[in-house]
Protein backbone atom coordinates (compact mmCIF):
# COMPACT_ATOMS: atom_id res chain seq x y z
CA UNK A 1 0.00 0.00 0.00
CA UNK A 2 1.31 3.42 -0.83
CA UNK A 3 0.49 6.46 1.22
CA UNK A 4 1.21 10.09 0.63
CA UNK A 5 3.42 11.29 3.47
CA UNK A 6 3.45 14.90 4.52
CA UNK A 7 6.24 16.62 2.70
CA UNK A 8 8.75 17.14 5.43
CA UNK A 9 11.21 19.97 5.12
CA UNK A 10 13.89 20.67 7.71
CA UNK A 11 12.48 22.72 10.58
CA UNK A 12 15.50 24.98 10.69
CA UNK A 13 14.68 28.65 10.88
CA UNK A 14 11.18 28.06 12.16
CA UNK A 15 10.83 30.48 15.07
CA UNK A 16 7.90 29.16 17.05
CA UNK A 17 8.19 31.86 19.71
CA UNK A 18 7.72 34.49 17.04
CA UNK A 19 4.75 32.57 15.66
CA UNK A 20 3.21 32.46 19.14
CA UNK A 21 3.37 36.24 19.41
CA UNK A 22 1.07 36.40 16.36
CA UNK A 23 -1.71 34.67 18.36
CA UNK A 24 -2.98 36.98 21.13
CA UNK A 25 -5.02 34.26 22.85
CA UNK A 26 -1.92 32.21 23.61
CA UNK A 27 -0.79 34.70 26.21
CA UNK A 28 -3.83 34.16 28.45
CA UNK A 29 -3.98 31.88 31.44
CA UNK A 30 -6.53 29.19 32.25
CA UNK A 31 -7.24 28.39 35.91
CA UNK A 32 -4.17 30.44 36.77
CA UNK A 33 -1.87 28.41 34.50
CA UNK A 34 -0.44 29.37 31.11
CA UNK A 35 -2.72 28.07 28.35
CA UNK A 36 -1.39 24.97 26.59
CA UNK A 37 -3.78 24.74 23.64
CA UNK A 38 -3.69 21.23 22.14
CA UNK A 39 -7.12 21.20 20.52
CA UNK A 40 -6.44 22.81 17.17
CA UNK A 41 -7.90 19.82 15.30
CA UNK A 42 -11.27 20.92 16.70
CA UNK A 43 -10.66 24.58 15.96
CA UNK A 44 -7.40 26.44 15.67
CA UNK A 45 -6.72 29.89 17.09
CA UNK A 46 -6.55 33.06 15.00
CA UNK A 47 -3.46 35.14 14.35
CA UNK A 48 -3.71 38.90 14.69
CA UNK A 49 -3.52 39.20 10.90
CA UNK A 50 -6.87 37.40 10.58
CA UNK A 51 -8.49 39.29 13.45
CA UNK A 52 -7.37 42.60 11.90
CA UNK A 53 -8.45 41.69 8.37
CA UNK A 54 -11.96 40.90 9.59
CA UNK A 55 -11.97 44.03 11.73
CA UNK A 56 -10.79 46.23 8.83
CA UNK A 57 -13.46 44.84 6.56
CA UNK A 58 -16.20 45.38 9.16
CA UNK A 59 -14.90 48.82 10.06
CA UNK A 60 -14.37 50.17 6.56
CA UNK A 61 -15.88 48.19 3.74
CA UNK A 62 -18.96 46.22 4.64
CA UNK A 63 -21.97 46.18 2.33
CA UNK A 64 -23.75 43.43 0.44
CA UNK A 65 -21.89 41.83 -2.44
CA UNK A 66 -22.82 41.59 -6.14
CA UNK A 67 -25.62 44.11 -5.62
CA UNK A 68 -25.01 47.79 -5.64
CA UNK A 69 -23.19 50.32 -7.69
CA UNK A 70 -22.16 52.23 -4.61
CA UNK A 71 -18.58 52.28 -3.37
CA UNK A 72 -18.98 50.04 -0.34
CA UNK A 73 -20.77 47.32 -2.27
CA UNK A 74 -17.98 47.37 -4.81
CA UNK A 75 -15.33 47.22 -2.09
CA UNK A 76 -17.11 44.35 -0.38
CA UNK A 77 -17.48 42.50 -3.67
CA UNK A 78 -13.80 43.04 -4.46
CA UNK A 79 -12.82 41.72 -1.02
CA UNK A 80 -15.11 38.69 -1.32
CA UNK A 81 -14.06 37.81 -4.87
CA UNK A 82 -10.46 38.53 -3.94
CA UNK A 83 -10.80 35.92 -1.21
CA UNK A 84 -12.14 33.45 -3.77
CA UNK A 85 -9.09 34.04 -5.97
CA UNK A 86 -6.87 33.60 -2.89
CA UNK A 87 -8.46 30.21 -2.21
CA UNK A 88 -8.10 29.25 -5.87
CA UNK A 89 -4.36 29.93 -5.75
CA UNK A 90 -4.05 28.11 -2.42
CA UNK A 91 -5.61 24.95 -3.84
CA UNK A 92 -4.19 25.50 -7.35
CA UNK A 93 -7.66 25.18 -8.88
CA UNK A 94 -7.98 26.05 -12.56
CA UNK A 95 -10.64 28.69 -12.09
CA UNK A 96 -12.54 30.64 -9.42
CA UNK A 97 -15.67 29.04 -10.92
CA UNK A 98 -14.50 25.92 -9.08
CA UNK A 99 -14.38 27.61 -5.64
CA UNK A 100 -17.69 27.66 -3.76
CA UNK A 101 -17.90 29.31 -0.37
CA UNK A 102 -19.85 27.34 2.22
CA UNK A 103 -20.33 27.52 6.00
CA UNK A 104 -17.67 24.85 6.41
CA UNK A 105 -16.66 21.34 5.47
CA UNK A 106 -19.98 19.95 6.66
CA UNK A 107 -22.02 22.17 4.38
CA UNK A 108 -19.65 21.49 1.49
CA UNK A 109 -20.16 17.73 1.82
CA UNK A 110 -23.92 18.18 2.19
CA UNK A 111 -23.90 20.25 -1.00
CA UNK A 112 -22.30 17.42 -2.97
CA UNK A 113 -24.46 14.77 -1.30
CA UNK A 114 -27.66 16.63 -2.06
CA UNK A 115 -26.83 18.05 -5.48
CA UNK A 116 -24.67 15.31 -6.97
CA UNK A 117 -26.09 12.40 -4.99
CA UNK A 118 -29.81 12.97 -4.95
CA UNK A 119 -30.05 13.81 -8.62
CA UNK A 120 -28.46 10.66 -9.95
CA UNK A 121 -28.45 7.88 -7.35
CA UNK A 122 -31.01 5.13 -6.98
CA UNK A 123 -31.43 1.49 -5.94
CA UNK A 124 -28.43 -0.59 -6.99
CA UNK A 125 -26.05 2.38 -6.81
CA UNK A 126 -23.40 2.56 -4.11
CA UNK A 127 -21.64 5.33 -2.18
CA UNK A 128 -18.24 4.22 -0.89
CA UNK A 129 -16.85 5.77 2.30
CA UNK A 130 -14.40 4.49 4.94
CA UNK A 131 -14.66 3.46 8.58
CA UNK A 132 -12.49 6.47 9.51
CA UNK A 133 -14.95 9.15 8.55
CA UNK A 134 -16.13 12.05 10.67
CA UNK A 135 -19.91 12.10 11.11
CA UNK A 136 -19.96 14.96 8.56
CA UNK A 137 -18.87 12.48 5.88
CA UNK A 138 -21.28 9.75 7.02
CA UNK A 139 -24.63 11.33 7.83
CA UNK A 140 -25.10 13.38 4.60
CA UNK A 141 -24.63 10.16 2.61
CA UNK A 142 -27.04 8.25 4.86
CA UNK A 143 -29.61 10.95 4.13
CA UNK A 144 -29.05 10.49 0.38
CA UNK A 145 -29.25 6.71 0.80
CA UNK A 146 -32.55 7.01 2.63
CA UNK A 147 -33.96 9.41 0.05
CA UNK A 148 -32.87 7.48 -3.04
CA UNK A 149 -32.66 3.81 -2.04
CA UNK A 150 -28.97 3.52 -2.92
CA UNK A 151 -26.50 1.74 -0.63
CA UNK A 152 -23.77 3.10 1.64
CA UNK A 153 -20.67 0.89 1.59
CA UNK A 154 -17.95 1.27 4.23
CA UNK A 155 -14.35 0.23 3.60
CA UNK A 156 -12.82 -1.12 6.83
CA UNK A 157 -9.77 -0.05 8.81
CA UNK A 158 -7.21 -2.15 10.66
CA UNK A 159 -6.06 -1.95 14.27
CA UNK A 160 -3.41 0.63 13.40
CA UNK A 161 -6.18 2.89 12.12
CA UNK A 162 -5.19 2.48 8.48
CA UNK A 163 -7.62 1.94 5.65
CA UNK A 164 -7.43 -1.68 4.46
CA UNK A 165 -6.64 -0.99 0.82
CA UNK A 166 -7.28 -4.56 -0.39
CA UNK A 167 -10.83 -4.19 0.95
CA UNK A 168 -11.19 -0.72 -0.51
CA UNK A 169 -10.25 -2.03 -3.96
CA UNK A 170 -12.65 -4.96 -3.55
CA UNK A 171 -15.53 -2.66 -2.55
CA UNK A 172 -14.88 -0.21 -5.38
CA UNK A 173 -17.03 -1.71 -8.16
CA UNK A 174 -18.97 -0.71 -11.27
CA UNK A 175 -21.89 -0.06 -8.89
CA UNK A 176 -19.93 2.67 -7.06
CA UNK A 177 -21.18 6.12 -8.04
CA UNK A 178 -19.03 8.26 -5.73
CA UNK A 179 -16.16 7.76 -3.28
CA UNK A 180 -16.11 10.11 -0.27
CA UNK A 181 -13.13 9.80 2.09
CA UNK A 182 -11.20 11.82 4.64
CA UNK A 183 -7.81 13.08 3.48
CA UNK A 184 -6.70 12.95 7.14
CA UNK A 185 -8.66 11.24 9.94
CA UNK A 186 -9.73 13.71 12.62
CA UNK A 187 -9.97 11.07 15.35
CA UNK A 188 -6.69 9.22 14.74
CA UNK A 189 -4.57 11.45 12.51
CA UNK A 190 -4.17 8.79 9.80
CA UNK A 191 -3.21 10.25 6.42
CA UNK A 192 -5.10 8.27 3.81
CA UNK A 193 -3.47 7.14 0.56
CA UNK A 194 -5.65 9.49 -1.45
CA UNK A 195 -3.55 9.31 -4.64
CA UNK A 196 -4.09 5.56 -4.80
CA UNK A 197 -7.80 5.99 -3.97
CA UNK A 198 -8.32 8.58 -6.70
CA UNK A 199 -6.41 6.59 -9.33
CA UNK A 200 -8.46 3.49 -8.57
CA UNK A 201 -11.77 5.35 -8.60
CA UNK A 202 -11.00 7.24 -11.79
CA UNK A 203 -10.11 3.99 -13.52
CA UNK A 204 -13.81 3.19 -13.09
CA UNK A 205 -14.91 6.76 -13.88
CA UNK A 206 -16.03 7.22 -10.28
CA UNK A 207 -15.71 10.76 -8.87
CA UNK A 208 -13.93 11.27 -5.53
CA UNK A 209 -14.74 13.73 -2.74
CA UNK A 210 -12.01 14.38 -0.19
CA UNK A 211 -12.88 15.72 3.27
CA UNK A 212 -9.82 17.91 3.71
CA UNK A 213 -10.78 19.58 6.99
CA UNK A 214 -7.82 18.02 8.82
CA UNK A 215 -5.44 17.92 5.87
CA UNK A 216 -5.33 21.52 4.70
CA UNK A 217 -3.75 22.88 7.92
CA UNK A 218 -0.91 20.34 7.72
CA UNK A 219 -0.04 19.78 4.09
CA UNK A 220 0.11 21.44 0.72
CA UNK A 221 -2.98 20.55 -1.27
CA UNK A 222 -2.87 20.87 -5.06
CA UNK A 223 -6.25 19.79 -6.35
CA UNK A 224 -5.01 19.47 -9.92
CA UNK A 225 -2.10 17.27 -8.94
CA UNK A 226 -4.37 15.22 -6.66
CA UNK A 227 -7.05 14.94 -9.32
CA UNK A 228 -9.83 15.13 -6.71
CA UNK A 229 -13.27 15.86 -8.14
CA UNK A 230 -14.40 17.56 -4.93
CA UNK A 231 -12.35 18.88 -2.02
CA UNK A 232 -13.90 20.32 1.15
CA UNK A 233 -12.32 22.23 4.02
CA UNK A 234 -13.15 24.68 6.81
CA UNK A 235 -11.67 28.08 7.58
CA UNK A 236 -11.59 27.68 11.34
CA UNK A 237 -9.21 24.72 11.33
CA UNK A 238 -6.84 26.76 9.15
CA UNK A 239 -6.45 29.71 11.56
CA UNK A 240 -9.42 31.44 9.94
CA UNK A 241 -12.90 32.34 11.19
CA UNK A 242 -15.76 29.94 11.91
CA UNK A 243 -18.73 29.83 9.58
CA UNK A 244 -16.68 29.88 6.36
CA UNK A 245 -15.48 26.93 4.34
CA UNK A 246 -14.83 25.89 0.79
CA UNK A 247 -16.01 23.33 -1.67
CA UNK A 248 -13.67 22.91 -4.60
CA UNK A 249 -15.31 21.07 -7.47
CA UNK A 250 -14.02 20.34 -10.94
CA UNK A 251 -15.87 22.67 -13.25
CA UNK A 252 -17.34 19.98 -15.49
CA UNK A 253 -18.70 18.18 -12.43
CA UNK A 254 -20.23 21.33 -10.92
CA UNK A 255 -21.67 22.44 -14.25
CA UNK A 256 -23.61 19.19 -14.52
CA UNK A 257 -25.06 19.48 -11.00
CA UNK A 258 -28.33 21.21 -10.06
CA UNK A 259 -28.39 23.93 -7.38
CA UNK A 260 -29.19 22.64 -3.91
CA UNK A 261 -30.48 25.79 -2.27
CA UNK A 262 -32.54 28.45 -3.96
CA UNK A 263 -32.60 32.16 -3.29
CA UNK A 264 -30.91 35.40 -4.15
CA UNK A 265 -27.50 35.54 -5.82
CA UNK A 266 -27.85 32.07 -7.37
CA UNK A 267 -30.22 33.27 -10.11
CA UNK A 268 -29.96 35.31 -13.32
CA UNK A 269 -33.65 35.81 -13.97
CA UNK A 270 -36.77 34.91 -12.00
CA UNK A 271 -40.41 34.88 -13.03
CA UNK A 272 -43.16 32.90 -11.34
CA UNK A 273 -43.02 30.48 -14.27
CA UNK A 274 -39.30 29.99 -14.64
CA UNK A 275 -35.93 30.77 -13.10
CA UNK A 276 -32.61 30.87 -14.90
CA UNK A 277 -29.79 29.88 -12.58
CA UNK A 278 -26.64 31.90 -12.27
CA UNK A 279 -23.32 30.62 -13.56
CA UNK A 280 -20.63 28.95 -11.46
CA UNK A 281 -19.81 29.37 -8.66
CA UNK A 282 -22.83 31.55 -7.77
CA UNK A 283 -25.27 28.80 -8.73
CA UNK A 284 -24.32 27.15 -5.42
CA UNK A 285 -24.22 30.28 -3.25
CA UNK A 286 -27.81 31.20 -2.45
CA UNK A 287 -28.32 34.21 -0.21
CA UNK A 288 -25.89 36.73 1.20
CA UNK A 289 -22.64 34.91 1.97
CA UNK A 290 -20.30 35.16 4.95
CA UNK A 291 -18.31 38.03 3.48
CA UNK A 292 -16.17 38.84 6.52
CA UNK A 293 -15.53 35.12 6.97
CA UNK A 294 -14.17 34.88 3.43
CA UNK A 295 -11.99 37.93 4.05
CA UNK A 296 -10.68 36.29 7.24
CA UNK A 297 -10.05 33.02 5.44
CA UNK A 298 -8.01 34.79 2.76
CA UNK A 299 -5.95 36.45 5.52
CA UNK A 300 -5.47 33.05 7.17
CA UNK A 301 -4.22 31.57 3.90
CA UNK A 302 -1.82 34.51 3.52
CA UNK A 303 -0.60 33.87 7.05
CA UNK A 304 -0.10 30.14 6.51
CA UNK A 305 1.74 30.68 3.24
CA UNK A 306 3.95 33.31 4.82
CA UNK A 307 5.03 30.80 7.46
CA UNK A 308 5.17 28.16 4.73
CA UNK A 309 2.96 25.08 4.70
CA UNK A 310 6.00 22.82 4.48
CA UNK A 311 7.71 24.57 7.40
CA UNK A 312 4.54 24.26 9.51
CA UNK A 313 4.24 20.58 8.58
CA UNK A 314 7.87 19.93 9.52
CA UNK A 315 7.46 21.72 12.85
CA UNK A 316 4.28 19.79 13.64
CA UNK A 317 5.93 16.56 12.61
CA UNK A 318 8.69 17.10 15.16
CA UNK A 319 6.04 17.78 17.84
CA UNK A 320 4.17 14.62 16.84
CA UNK A 321 7.34 12.54 17.09
CA UNK A 322 8.20 14.02 20.49
CA UNK A 323 4.66 13.55 21.79
CA UNK A 324 4.48 9.98 20.55
CA UNK A 325 7.73 9.19 22.38
CA UNK A 326 6.70 11.04 25.57
CA UNK A 327 3.26 9.39 25.71
CA UNK A 328 4.59 5.92 24.93
CA UNK A 329 6.82 6.41 27.97
CA UNK A 330 3.83 6.74 30.32
CA UNK A 331 2.82 3.39 31.84
CA UNK A 332 -0.80 2.44 31.17
CA UNK A 333 -1.17 4.86 28.29
CA UNK A 334 -2.17 3.47 24.87
CA UNK A 335 -2.07 5.50 21.70
CA UNK A 336 -5.10 4.76 19.51
CA UNK A 337 -4.16 5.06 15.87
CA UNK A 338 -0.62 4.11 14.95
CA UNK A 339 -0.70 4.55 11.20
CA UNK A 340 2.62 4.89 9.44
CA UNK A 341 1.67 8.29 8.05
CA UNK A 342 -0.04 10.60 10.50
CA UNK A 343 -0.81 14.26 10.83
CA UNK A 344 -0.12 15.91 14.18
CA UNK A 345 -2.99 14.29 16.05
CA UNK A 346 -2.60 11.80 18.91
CA UNK A 347 -5.60 9.97 20.34
CA UNK A 348 -5.01 7.97 23.50
CA UNK A 349 -6.57 6.23 26.45
CA UNK A 350 -5.15 5.63 29.91
CA UNK A 351 -5.75 2.52 32.00
CA UNK A 352 -8.09 3.23 34.91
CA UNK A 353 -8.81 6.85 33.97
CA UNK A 354 -11.73 7.71 31.73
CA UNK A 355 -10.92 10.26 28.98
CA UNK A 356 -13.49 12.63 30.46
CA UNK A 357 -11.66 12.64 33.80
CA UNK A 358 -8.35 13.12 31.98
CA UNK A 359 -9.82 16.12 30.18
CA UNK A 360 -10.87 17.75 33.44
CA UNK A 361 -7.56 17.09 35.19
CA UNK A 362 -5.56 18.37 32.22
CA UNK A 363 -7.79 21.44 32.01
CA UNK A 364 -7.01 22.25 35.64
CA UNK A 365 -3.34 22.30 34.56
CA UNK A 366 -4.17 24.70 31.72
CA UNK A 367 -3.81 21.96 29.11
CA UNK A 368 -6.71 21.91 26.62
CA UNK A 369 -7.28 18.57 24.89
CA UNK A 370 -10.40 17.19 23.27
CA UNK A 371 -12.10 14.25 24.95
CA UNK A 372 -14.98 12.21 23.62
CA UNK A 373 -15.80 10.41 20.39
CA UNK A 374 -14.55 13.24 18.14
CA UNK A 375 -17.67 13.02 15.97
CA UNK A 376 -16.42 9.62 14.83
CA UNK A 377 -18.42 7.13 16.87
CA UNK A 378 -17.86 4.26 14.39
CA UNK A 379 -14.10 4.67 14.93
CA UNK A 380 -14.58 4.42 18.71
CA UNK A 381 -16.83 1.36 18.24
CA UNK A 382 -14.16 -0.29 16.09
CA UNK A 383 -11.61 0.06 18.89
CA UNK A 384 -14.20 -0.96 21.52
CA UNK A 385 -13.82 2.26 23.49
CA UNK A 386 -16.40 4.95 24.28
CA UNK A 387 -14.00 7.83 23.88
CA UNK A 388 -10.41 8.94 23.70
CA UNK A 389 -8.43 11.97 24.76
CA UNK A 390 -6.91 13.71 21.76
CA UNK A 391 -4.02 16.13 21.62
CA UNK A 392 -3.48 17.95 18.34
CA UNK A 393 -0.58 20.20 17.45
CA UNK A 394 -0.54 23.31 15.32
CA UNK A 395 1.98 25.85 14.05
CA UNK A 396 2.14 27.59 17.44
CA UNK A 397 2.73 24.61 19.74
CA UNK A 398 6.12 23.92 21.30
CA UNK A 399 8.20 21.01 22.51
CA UNK A 400 7.83 22.46 26.02
CA UNK A 401 4.06 22.08 25.67
CA UNK A 402 4.53 18.43 24.71
CA UNK A 403 6.41 17.97 27.98
CA UNK A 404 3.65 19.85 29.87
CA UNK A 405 1.10 17.45 28.38
CA UNK A 406 3.14 14.48 29.54
CA UNK A 407 3.58 15.99 33.01
CA UNK A 408 -0.16 16.69 33.29
CA UNK A 409 -0.92 13.08 32.31
CA UNK A 410 1.43 11.80 35.01
CA UNK A 411 -0.29 14.17 37.43
CA UNK A 412 -3.64 12.62 36.47
CA UNK A 413 -2.24 9.22 37.42
CA UNK A 414 -1.23 10.62 40.80
CA UNK A 415 -4.70 12.09 41.36
CA UNK A 416 -6.22 8.70 40.64
CA UNK A 417 -3.61 6.94 42.76
Amino acid sequence: MSATPLRVAPATGYDVERVRRDFPILSRTVHGKPLVFLDSAASSQRPLAVIRAVDDYETRSHANVHRGVHALSQEATAAFEGARERVRRFLNARSTREIIFTRGTTEAINLVAQSFGRARLGPGDEILITALEHHANIVPWQMVRDATGCSLVVAPIDTAGELVMEEFHRLLTPRTRIVAVAHVSNALGTILPVAEIITAAHALNVPVLLDGAQAVPHSRVDVQALGADFYAFSGHKLYGPTGIGVLYGREERLAAMPPWQGGGDMILNVTFEHTTYNELPYKFEAGTPNISGAVGLAAAIDYVETLGVDAIAAHEHSLLAAATAALNDIPGLSIIGTARHKASVISFVMAGIHPHDLGTILDAEGVAVRTGHHCAQPVMDFFGIPATARASFACYNTLAEVQQLAAALRHAQEVFG
Binding site: H354, T360, T371, F416
Partner: protein
Protein backbone atom coordinates in the same frame (compact mmCIF):
# COMPACT_ATOMS: atom_id res chain seq x y z
CA UNK B 1 -12.02 25.62 40.93
CA UNK B 2 -10.16 23.00 42.91
CA UNK B 3 -9.49 19.58 41.46
CA UNK B 4 -9.34 18.15 44.98
CA UNK B 5 -12.98 19.18 45.49
CA UNK B 6 -13.99 17.12 42.49
CA UNK B 7 -11.90 14.01 42.96
CA UNK B 8 -12.37 13.45 46.69
CA UNK B 9 -11.22 10.24 48.28
CA UNK B 10 -14.79 8.95 48.52
CA UNK B 11 -15.26 9.48 44.78
CA UNK B 12 -11.97 7.82 43.88
CA UNK B 13 -12.74 4.90 46.18
CA UNK B 14 -16.21 4.32 44.68
CA UNK B 15 -14.74 4.65 41.19
CA UNK B 16 -12.10 2.01 41.90
CA UNK B 17 -14.48 -0.31 43.74
CA UNK B 18 -18.03 0.43 42.72
CA UNK B 19 -20.63 -0.94 45.14
CA UNK B 20 -23.65 -2.87 43.89
CA UNK B 21 -22.06 -3.26 40.48
CA UNK B 22 -23.74 -5.73 38.14
CA UNK B 23 -27.22 -6.61 37.01
CA UNK B 24 -30.18 -8.13 38.87
CA UNK B 25 -31.73 -11.03 37.00
CA UNK B 26 -34.63 -11.22 37.26
CA UNK B 27 -35.32 -7.57 38.01
CA UNK B 28 -38.59 -5.83 38.67
CA UNK B 29 -37.53 -2.72 36.80
CA UNK B 30 -34.60 -1.69 34.63
CA UNK B 31 -33.60 1.35 32.61
CA UNK B 32 -30.66 2.39 30.46
CA UNK B 33 -29.00 5.77 30.64
CA UNK B 34 -26.81 7.32 28.00
CA UNK B 35 -24.76 10.49 27.82
CA UNK B 36 -24.02 10.81 24.10
CA UNK B 37 -21.62 13.70 24.69
CA UNK B 38 -19.06 11.51 26.44
CA UNK B 39 -20.32 8.03 25.61
CA UNK B 40 -21.22 7.10 29.20
CA UNK B 41 -23.74 4.27 29.40
CA UNK B 42 -25.25 2.60 32.41
CA UNK B 43 -28.03 0.20 33.26
CA UNK B 44 -29.90 0.32 36.57
CA UNK B 45 -31.86 -2.75 37.66
CA UNK B 46 -34.12 -2.89 40.70
CA UNK B 47 -36.00 -5.33 42.90
CA UNK B 48 -39.08 -3.80 44.43
CA UNK B 49 -41.36 -4.80 47.31
CA UNK B 50 -44.40 -2.69 46.67
CA UNK B 51 -43.08 0.83 46.57
CA UNK B 52 -39.76 0.06 48.20
CA UNK B 53 -36.39 -0.60 46.56
CA UNK B 54 -35.16 -3.81 48.16
CA UNK B 55 -32.14 -4.28 45.90
CA UNK B 56 -30.33 -2.33 43.22
CA UNK B 57 -27.46 -2.98 40.82
CA UNK B 58 -25.89 -0.83 38.17
CA UNK B 59 -23.46 -1.60 35.42
CA UNK B 60 -21.90 0.32 32.62
CA UNK B 61 -18.91 2.26 31.44
CA UNK B 62 -18.31 5.77 32.51
CA UNK B 63 -15.99 8.33 33.97
CA UNK B 64 -15.06 8.43 37.66
CA UNK B 65 -17.80 10.93 38.45
CA UNK B 66 -20.53 8.91 36.78
CA UNK B 67 -19.33 5.60 38.25
CA UNK B 68 -18.91 6.96 41.79
CA UNK B 69 -22.24 8.77 41.63
CA UNK B 70 -24.04 5.58 40.62
CA UNK B 71 -22.24 3.60 43.32
CA UNK B 72 -23.07 6.15 46.03
CA UNK B 73 -26.66 6.34 44.79
CA UNK B 74 -27.07 2.57 44.95
CA UNK B 75 -26.06 2.59 48.61
CA UNK B 76 -28.25 5.55 49.43
CA UNK B 77 -31.54 4.41 47.91
CA UNK B 78 -31.64 0.78 49.00
CA UNK B 79 -34.53 0.29 51.42
CA UNK B 80 -36.25 3.53 50.42
CA UNK B 81 -39.58 4.04 48.66
CA UNK B 82 -40.37 6.07 45.55
CA UNK B 83 -41.33 9.25 47.41
CA UNK B 84 -38.12 9.19 49.47
CA UNK B 85 -36.01 8.60 46.35
CA UNK B 86 -37.74 11.45 44.57
CA UNK B 87 -37.03 13.76 47.49
CA UNK B 88 -33.39 12.68 47.64
CA UNK B 89 -33.01 13.26 43.89
CA UNK B 90 -34.34 16.78 44.47
CA UNK B 91 -31.64 17.42 47.08
CA UNK B 92 -28.94 15.95 44.85
CA UNK B 93 -30.06 18.01 41.88
CA UNK B 94 -29.97 21.17 43.98
CA UNK B 95 -26.52 20.28 45.30
CA UNK B 96 -25.15 19.69 41.78
CA UNK B 97 -26.56 22.83 40.20
CA UNK B 98 -26.93 25.54 42.86
CA UNK B 99 -23.41 26.89 43.03
CA UNK B 100 -23.77 29.06 46.11
CA UNK B 101 -26.27 27.12 48.23
CA UNK B 102 -24.81 25.45 51.33
CA UNK B 103 -24.33 21.70 50.95
CA UNK B 104 -27.00 19.66 52.73
CA UNK B 105 -24.87 17.67 55.20
CA UNK B 106 -27.74 15.24 55.79
CA UNK B 107 -26.83 13.79 52.40
CA UNK B 108 -23.94 12.02 54.10
CA UNK B 109 -21.46 10.44 51.68
CA UNK B 110 -23.46 11.78 48.73
CA UNK B 111 -22.25 15.25 49.75
CA UNK B 112 -18.87 14.21 48.34
CA UNK B 113 -20.35 14.95 44.91
CA UNK B 114 -20.86 18.62 45.74
CA UNK B 115 -17.54 19.55 44.12
CA UNK B 116 -19.09 18.73 40.75
CA UNK B 117 -20.99 22.01 40.71
CA UNK B 118 -17.75 23.91 40.18
CA UNK B 119 -17.32 21.93 36.94
CA UNK B 120 -20.42 22.64 34.82
CA UNK B 121 -19.27 20.29 32.05
CA UNK B 122 -19.41 17.39 34.53
CA UNK B 123 -22.84 17.86 36.14
CA UNK B 124 -24.46 15.48 33.67
CA UNK B 125 -21.91 12.81 34.57
CA UNK B 126 -23.12 12.89 38.17
CA UNK B 127 -26.84 13.12 37.40
CA UNK B 128 -27.10 10.45 34.68
CA UNK B 129 -27.55 7.60 37.19
CA UNK B 130 -30.31 9.47 39.01
CA UNK B 131 -32.22 10.11 35.80
CA UNK B 132 -31.79 6.45 34.94
CA UNK B 133 -33.05 5.31 38.34
CA UNK B 134 -36.00 7.65 37.94
CA UNK B 135 -36.79 6.11 34.55
CA UNK B 136 -36.59 2.60 36.03
CA UNK B 137 -39.03 3.60 38.78
CA UNK B 138 -41.38 5.37 36.35
CA UNK B 139 -41.58 3.23 33.27
CA UNK B 140 -38.23 1.73 32.32
CA UNK B 141 -36.73 2.35 28.91
CA UNK B 142 -33.88 4.62 27.97
CA UNK B 143 -32.97 8.09 29.11
CA UNK B 144 -30.46 10.40 27.56
CA UNK B 145 -28.79 13.48 28.96
CA UNK B 146 -29.40 15.05 25.56
CA UNK B 147 -33.14 15.17 24.91
CA UNK B 148 -33.95 14.25 21.36
CA UNK B 149 -30.73 12.41 20.64
CA UNK B 150 -32.19 9.24 21.94
CA UNK B 151 -35.91 9.41 22.42
CA UNK B 152 -37.00 7.88 25.68
CA UNK B 153 -38.56 4.54 24.92
CA UNK B 154 -41.59 4.60 27.12
CA UNK B 155 -42.90 1.39 28.50
CA UNK B 156 -40.02 -0.73 27.23
CA UNK B 157 -38.75 -3.14 29.83
Amino acid sequence: MELKDLYRDVILDHNRQPRNFGRLDPADATADGHNPLCGDRLTVSLRLAGDKITDIRFEGKGCAISTASASLMSEAVKGHDRAEVRELFGHIHAMLTQTHAPVDESLGKLAALSGVREFPSRVKCASLCWHTLNAALEQGGTVSTEAGNEASAQGVK
